[in-house]
Symmetry: C2
Subunit: 339 residues, 2 copies
DNA sequence: CTGTTAGCGCTTTCAC
DNA sequence: GTGAAAGCGCTAACAG
C-alpha cells in the first residue's frame, strides 16, 4: 500500500489555474488579492482537501507554533493542572503543547529540555530539583523559556509560580489560631525548590513566634511517602514532642498520612490536625475533608502561556508572578483539644 | 535585540573544511566516512554548538518524530496515566508527544485531531463521545492512528483499551458473592462509549442471573457528579428499591458519592457497599479504601506506542488489545448486612 | 569515500 | 494585482 503523496500548494495552484504565490496569499490573507482569485483558490483548496505543510512553513518562517513543557512527573496533579491551563490557553492562539516527562531523572532534564526546545518556539521548565547553577546554564541555552515554581533572578527568564513562603506561613497561622503550638512538618524532597521555600516560610514564622515549635520529618512528594511517615508522626504526637498538628509538603503526602493514621485508629482532627498543600481535586472529598492551601493550577498555566507568547513575539518580559495560595479550611484541622 | 541566526549545516561544513554532504553523513551515521573527517566534523559541531533543524529534516523526510494524543480532559486520571506511559515509551524511540485537550467539546474533536495529525506522524485518539460515524470518518482522514478505549471494527485502526464489559461483570460477581442482589449503577455520560460497554456488561449478567436487580441512576464522570447523586442513592437504599450496593461509573463518581454518604451519616460498607472503576491512585487512600477495578494506565500508554510505532514504520497492525481490569477488593464493599 | 546538485513545500522579494 | 524565481536547512542521488 503506497502512501499517497500529499497534495501541495502546487497542486492547488494548478487546479485553480493561478500561481503558487497567489495561493499562498489567499492562504495567509496577505496583501490584496482579486476576489475572484480568492474564490477559485478557496474552492480548489476545498476540492483537493489541501492543508499546508507545517514543516515547510516552519522551515521558511523559523517558527512551528508549538511550545514544550518539561515536567518531572506527569502524574503530579499540580503539573497536570498547569498543563491543562497552558494547553487550552495556547490552543486559543493556534499553538500546541509538546510534553516531555523526565521521569524524575534530574540528570536527563538538560538534554530533554534542549532537545524539546529545538522542536518548539519556546519551553516552560518545571524542574524543581535541578541545581540552580545548572538551571541558569540551561536557561541560557533554551531561551525563550518560562520557569515554573522556583525563583531565579537576573536571568531574564520570566517566572510564574506559587508563593510557598507566604502560603505555608498562612497555614501555620491558621493552625496557631486553632491553638496549635507544637507542629510537625512533613518535608518534601530535599532538593526541591518549593520545599526549600516552604522551609524558609517556616523559619520566618518561627522567628516571629517563639511560642511555636516545628518538628521536621523527611518524607517525599507522593502518597506513599506520607503513608510511610505514619509511625513517626504518631510518635511525635503521643511522645515527648506532643505535637497536635501536622503540615504536609502537599496534599498527597497529607492524604497518605491520613490513611495511615486512620489504620492506627488515630482520630483526625480529634487527636491531631492534618493540613496539606495544593488543594488537589480530591482534597475536599477525603474523610475528613482535608484542609489545604489552594493554588490556581489552570490559571498558572494560562499565565505561563501569556509569558511565552510575549517572549515568542519578542516582547518585553513581565516580572515574575507569584500566586498567593488561599486557605481552604476544612475538617481535617480543628481546635487543639485541651482535655 | 536581534535574534541570532542559528548555525546551520553549512557553517559546520565550512568550519570543518568539508562538504555539507559529509557533515550530513556523520550526523546520520550513514555510509562510511573517513575517520578523520568524522573527527573533524564532530569537533566542529561541538565547537559551534550546532544542532540540526528539525523543520528542515521534517520537510525532506516527511517525518517529524512526534505523535499527538487527543484527550477530552487532561485532568482525567485515566488519560493522565496513559499519556505518561505513552510519553515515556515514545521517548525511548526518540519520539515526543503533542497533547491536545479538547475541553470536552465533542464538536471540536475533528478539527483538532486533523490539525494535530498534520503536525505529527500519527495520532492517538481518545474520543469516547464522538459518534461512531464521525469517528470512522475522522479515522480515515488522520491515519495512521490508534484509538483508545472504544471498539471500532473494520477500519484498520488498532484499538487499545479496557474490557469494560468483563470488568463490570467481574465487579458485579464480587458484589453478588458478598450477598448483594439489589444494586445501583451510577451511569456515566450517556454518549460515552465506555459507559455503553459497562451497561452492556450489566445487561449480560442480568440475563445470566435473574436473582439480581440493577437500578440505574444517571450521573457523569466527575467527583461532583457522584456527590450530587447522593440523595438519589440514599433513596434507593432506604426506599422501596432496598439497594445494598452501588457500582459507580468510575472512581471519581464513587468517591464523590462516598463523601455525600458520609455527610449524611450513611455508613459504608455498613449500610451500603460502594465500588468504583479505574483504581485511581487515591482509591486505596480513601476512607474506607475504595473497592475498584484496576486498569493498567501506563501499560496502555506503552501499548499504544507500540502500535503507533508499527504503523509509522508501515508495518502490519496488531489486533485490538483489551486489558481485563483486575478487582481490587477493599473495605468499601462488604457482606450484605442481614440484620 | 567525498563533493556537487537537485529538490522537500512554502513564503517572499522582485519584476511585470 | 499577479507571476517567476530565489531560497529556508537538510538529505539523497549521482558523479567523480
Amino acid at each position: 500500500m503506497e502512501r499517497a503523496r500529499p497534495t501541495t500548494i502546487a497542486d492547488v495552484a494548478q487546479h485553480a489555474g493561478v500561481s503558487q504565490a497567489s495561493v499562498s496569499r489567499v492562504l495567509n490573507g496577505k496583501a490584496s488579492v482579486d476576489p475572484r482569485i480568492v474564490e477559485v483558490v478557496t474552492a480548489s483548496i476545498a476540492a483537493l482537501g489541501y492543508t499546508p505543510s507545517t514543516a515547510a512553513r516552519s522551515l521558511v518562517s523559523g517558527r512551528n507554533n508549538t511550545v514544550a513543557m518539561i515536567v518531572p512527573d506527569l502524574e503530579n496533579p499540580l503539573f497536570q493542572g498547569i498543563l491543562k491551563g497552558l494547553s487550552r490557553a495556547a490552543a486559543l492562539d493556534g499553538y500546541r503543547v509538546l510534553v516531555a516527562d523526565t521521569a524524575e531523572i534530574v540528570a536527563d532534564e538538560e538534554v530533554i529540555a534542549i532537545e524539546a526546545r529545538h522542536r518548539t518556539d519556546a519551553i516552560v521548565l518545571c524542574a524543581p530539583r535541578m541545581p540552580e547553577k545548572k538551571l541558569r546554564d540551561v536557561l541560557s541555552r533554551v531561551a525563550p523559556a518560562v520557569v515554573v515554581n522556583r525563583p531565579i533572578d537576573e536571568t531574564g527568564t520570566p517566572v510564574v509560580g506559587v508563593d510557598y513562603v507566604r502560603g505555608i506561613r498562612d497555614l501555620v497561622e491558621h493552625l496557631a489560631g486553632l491553638g496549635h503550638t507544637r507542629l510537625v512538618y512533613l518535608a518534601g524532597p530535599a532538593p526541591s525548590a518549593s520545599n526549600r521555600e516552604r522551609e524558609r516560610g517556616l523559619a520566618e514564622i518561627l522567628a516571629a513566634r517563639p511560642d511555636l515549635t516545628i518538628t521536621t520529618i523527611a518524607t517525599g512528594s507522593a502518597l506513599d511517602d506520607g503513608y510511610r511517615a505514619t509511625a513517626e508522626v504518631i510518635d511525635a504526637v503521643r511522645g515527648e514532642v506532643g505535637a497536635t498538628a501536622v503540615l504536609a509538603f502537599n496534599d498527597l503526602v497529607a492524604l497518605g498520612l491520613m490513611r495511615g493514621l486512620s489504620e492506627h485508629g488515630v482520630s483526625v482532627p480529634g487527636e491531631v490536625s492534618v493540613a496539606g498543600f495544593d488543594d488537589v481535586p480530591l482534597a475536599s472529598f477525603s474523610s475528613p475533608p482535608l484542609t489545604s492551601m489552594s493554588v490556581p493550577r489552570s490559571e498558572i498555566g494560562e499565565q505561563v502561556w501569556q509569558r511565552l507568547r510575549a517572549l515568542i513575539a519578542g516582547a518585553a518580559v513581565d516580572h515574575a508572578v507569584l500566586y498567593s495560595p488561599r486557605l481552604e479550611a476544612r475538617e481535617s484541622t480543628g481546635p487543639v483539644d485541651r482535655a
